[in-house]
Subunit: 285 residues, 2 copies
């Protein structure tokens, strides 16, 4: 299995704090030692850094922590291989170009039969079930929307929710999918999220004795908001919300834009807003 | 305008020496200060590092020089913008997936009317004529070969030669195109190449007082061969061969596989083999 990390904010900031926690799980506090990758958007263009070695001891991962790249949308992944050997071509996130934008995808889980599905246009470079599933999603988006890109994240969210249920019916399909504006996060069995908004407080990593005051981060002003999604909570003094299996969240500009399945009338939202969370002033509850 | 660098060898080695020369032209000894990029193949998968800042002062470019990644096929580029602003999305090399492999492309020159050509499937992410031209090449390959990839570099070389002439008729079209096995290099107006083979000698950069003995490079054994292509020769004590405008070279495993237009019977080859070059023992003539 693997661990996922996604971040989307309304101002470009750095993800060093969260990436540090994830990188530690890449071979030190966690067993995910078969590679790591991170995709950092600059507009609709994502730069991807990948290695097939453990993240915690990687000079490149250290370089990224020491030379933070500012971004408002990022996906990171540490890998413990299940399908496909430890090679760059099997390392998440995967990237393709669609409708003048980079699409980035990372998966946690296994889809044992997904590679039986025939592809028509997209092709995987590596051997993973994950990249094959990504290709299926891309082909489905092309065939659903043709030359039009579904710029409203709710519309694409519904499509990805339905595809997620279809492919996830045979296996475990936690995934993060980004299009330069939105972060789509599907829970197969494990996914947690936190919404933070200014004024922020401090938080401490689960995986290291490292504290951050988010107010000190680059780009953080009085209106800053950020949403962070991870396989397991990354901080120990904030209240993370666990997703119900089958849920797909759509985030944009640091906020939750939509939840699928849509909450029934009268029931509360799947995910409380930051103001209703204990510790929503940014301090630990 | 920009400068191009391509390398293909029969054993994975590092391209630090050549990349150092190119990086210096990225803002120090040359005016190419609007970004740089390098794609390094690992099998059919290419990792791409890009920045929209000058290469010569870039911490990431320095990191790559100090932590050399071994590769048998690479393309690098330093950019002086002509069409499209200084942004990551406009930085070469460009990458797409085709037939289970990464295809990497970098361009030097301008194609003023190429963006009038309609695209049907591929889309550019940035605003350059170069990426648009790359998309045209990819669509033409898809429509020429369908589900089959032209694994013989001579076959794809002929296609790229013809496409190069067609697109290059209106503008300047020096390009490097790689598919994980082959390096295709087209000369629009400026392109030089050198074939090196073991036992190597020393060479000195044109752009710095830096000498290398290629025998000391990682992976270099008695059968090692490498082909290097660049807009302008990178070393001062080796004999580089200048291409005639309109020529397309196909390199594989450090050797010249084909030249287009094909040499007429009775005329010598477009590019002499290493053994016929002065200084072919690797020492300066």
């Amino acid at each position: 299995m693997c661990e996922l990390l996604g971040m989307v904010s309304n101002v470009p900031t750095d993800i060093v704090f969260s990436f540090t926690g994830l990188a530690l799980r890449g071979g030190q506090t966690g067993p995910h030692a078969d590679g790591w990758g991170v995709s950092l958007y600059d507009g609709l263009f994502a730069r991807t850094f990948l290695e097939s070695h453990p993240a915690f001891s990687s000079p490149l991962a250290r370089f990224i922590r020491e030379n933070p790249i500012h971004t408002a949308l990022a996906i990171a992944h540490v890998r413990k291989m299940t399908r496909g050997g430890a090679a760059l071509k099997n390392t998440h996130p995967f990237m393709r170009v669609l409708h003048r934008r980079h699409i980035v995808f990372a998966h946690n889980g296994t889809l044992p039969t997904v590679r039986d599905r025939k592809l028509h246009l997209e092709t995987p470079v590596g051997d993973t079930d994950s990249e094959h599933a990504f290709c299926i999603l891309l082909e489905a988006i092309r065939s659903s929307y043709g030359e039009r890109y579904p710029a409203d994240g709710r519309e694409l969210g519904r499509t990805l929710y339905e595809l997620g249920n279809e492919l996830g019916a045979d296996g475990v399909f936690n995934f993060l999918f980004a299009d330069g504006e939105h972060l789509f996060a599907r829970c197969g069995d494990h996914l947690s999220c936190i919404l933070r908004q200014a004024p922020f407080g401090e938080a401490t990593l689960v995986d290291a004795d490292l504290k951050v005051n988010f107010n000190d981060l680059h780009g953080v002003g009085p209106d800053a908001r950020m949403a962070v999604v991870a396989t397991e909570p990354l901080t120990r003094d904030e209240l993370w919300r666990k997703a119900t299996p089958g849920t797909l969240w759509v985030f944009r500009a640091g906020e939750l834009l939509a939840t699928f399945p849509e909450p029934r009338e009268g029931s509360g939202p799947e995910l409380p807003g930051p103001s209703t969370l204990p510790g929503a002033d940014g301090r630990a509850p």
